[in-house]
Symmetry: C2
Subunit: 212 residues, 2 copies
DNA sequence: GTCTATAATCGGATAGAC
DNA sequence: GTCTATCCGATTATAGAC
């Protein structure tokens, strides 16, 4: 019938509401952390009654876990950009660039991660000890190979990755501080691109041998 | 009398309890942020009844403000280490070293700051826009002078300071993540000193002209 | 000054009407 | 599927005994 053809399919309506709740939850969890967030505030930002939220996500923790899992998947996607080149300077530039773009496009995801670490990582602790550690170890091997080949100065790869993570995620996690120092306005696209270019340049200069 | 001489003076007893509450509050606020923290948990960690806490600090917010103000003072103390030398390489090394030591010795202070920024800096916003911005501007002037004198490569000073802040504070804010990647144990003193030396070396190499 | 008891409110979750 | 009404434990804060 007409109603069958014109109305939004049931499953799509559900997906739309779930997505609204999900996005609202992301913004609240990013701002207040798990404990400081309330289902009432999430429901308010999703513009639905609180009870309705509990219909789609039975508990606050289930909603938090769904949000967190999504953040980890996004992180892994960006991580893959490290592999796309064999030359250290290209690999590092591509990875840092991807992480900077991620900080710009999805600062909320980065903040959810930061809040989770700050409270002791009760939910993503396993991910850190397994998937993340595996990723890190395998990339450390690549970096050590570069060092042996004289393509990179001698350094402990792990602390170099920490430096990359810190610097890039700072543009997401401390966006508010940067805005306060920028006349109350977030970095413009031009400012951000300048920052990104400088971060890449300083990091590369810091680890590539002289005269490269 | 004997009791006058042997017992802890009244003011000292008060100071001791205030300090216990203060330290407990620091650890709780650092872990859960303002909203996620409860006065009950703070009282528990201070090992006093909850009502007693409210005697010394009338409200949760008053306690939070006291804790936050202390963090800002500590930050400013470390900031002064940037001035102690005129040579860029020495000034930068001294500042980064001081910030790294701060991250190691007072990670809680750094985490309180991070949590405050993550929720939009409602309490320290004024500090950021006035004192911190003034500090940053004056140091940018110094850095620009070095660049003009050929002592530093061309760069936007602000993003360089962001890089220093990000990298050093990462060792406080993401200590939990680093521990998870280090077999569940925090960085040893030796590991931390190696990281600190590498951070300084990479940053200096990244901004000093070739052959310095 | 200290602490027990409690008021007042908030927050997570559910029952049950529609 | 949706939402109003509500339960009940948690949380901030205070009153008032000691």
């Amino acid at each position: 019938m007409a109603s069958e053809l014109t109305r939004t399919p049931r499953s799509t309506a559900r997906e739309g509401r779930e997505k609204a709740i999900f996005e609202a939850a992301r913004s609240v969890f990013a701002e207040f952390g798990y404990k400081g967030s309330t289902t009432a505030e999430i429901a308010k930002r999703a513009e639905i009654p609180k009870a309705n939220l509990h219909y789609y996500f039975p508990t606050k923790e289930a909603l938090y876990r769904a949000v967190t899992e999504d953040v980890l998947n996004t992180w892994l996607e960006a991580a893959s950009s490290f592999d796309e080149s064999v030359d250290p300077s290209e690999a590092i530039a591509a990875y840092v660039s991807a992480k900077m773009d991620m900080a710009r496009q999805d600062p909320i995801g980065s903040r959810i991660w930061a809040n989770e670490i700050l409270r002791g990582a009760p939910v993503i602790g396993d991910f850190l000890e397994t998937t993340l550690l595996d990723w890190l170890k395998s990339r450390e091997t690549i970096v050590r190979r570069w060092i042996k080949a004289g393509k990179l100065v001698a350094l402990e790869p792990r602390y170099f990755f920490y430096m990359i993570w810190a610097t890039t995620q700072h543009y997401a996690d401390f966006e508010g501080q940067m805005a306060a120092l920028n006349g109350g306005k977030p970095l413009s696209d031009a400012q951000f691109e300048a920052a990104k270019a400088q971060v890449i340049a300083t990091l590369l200069r810091g680890v590539l041998p002289s005269g490269t």
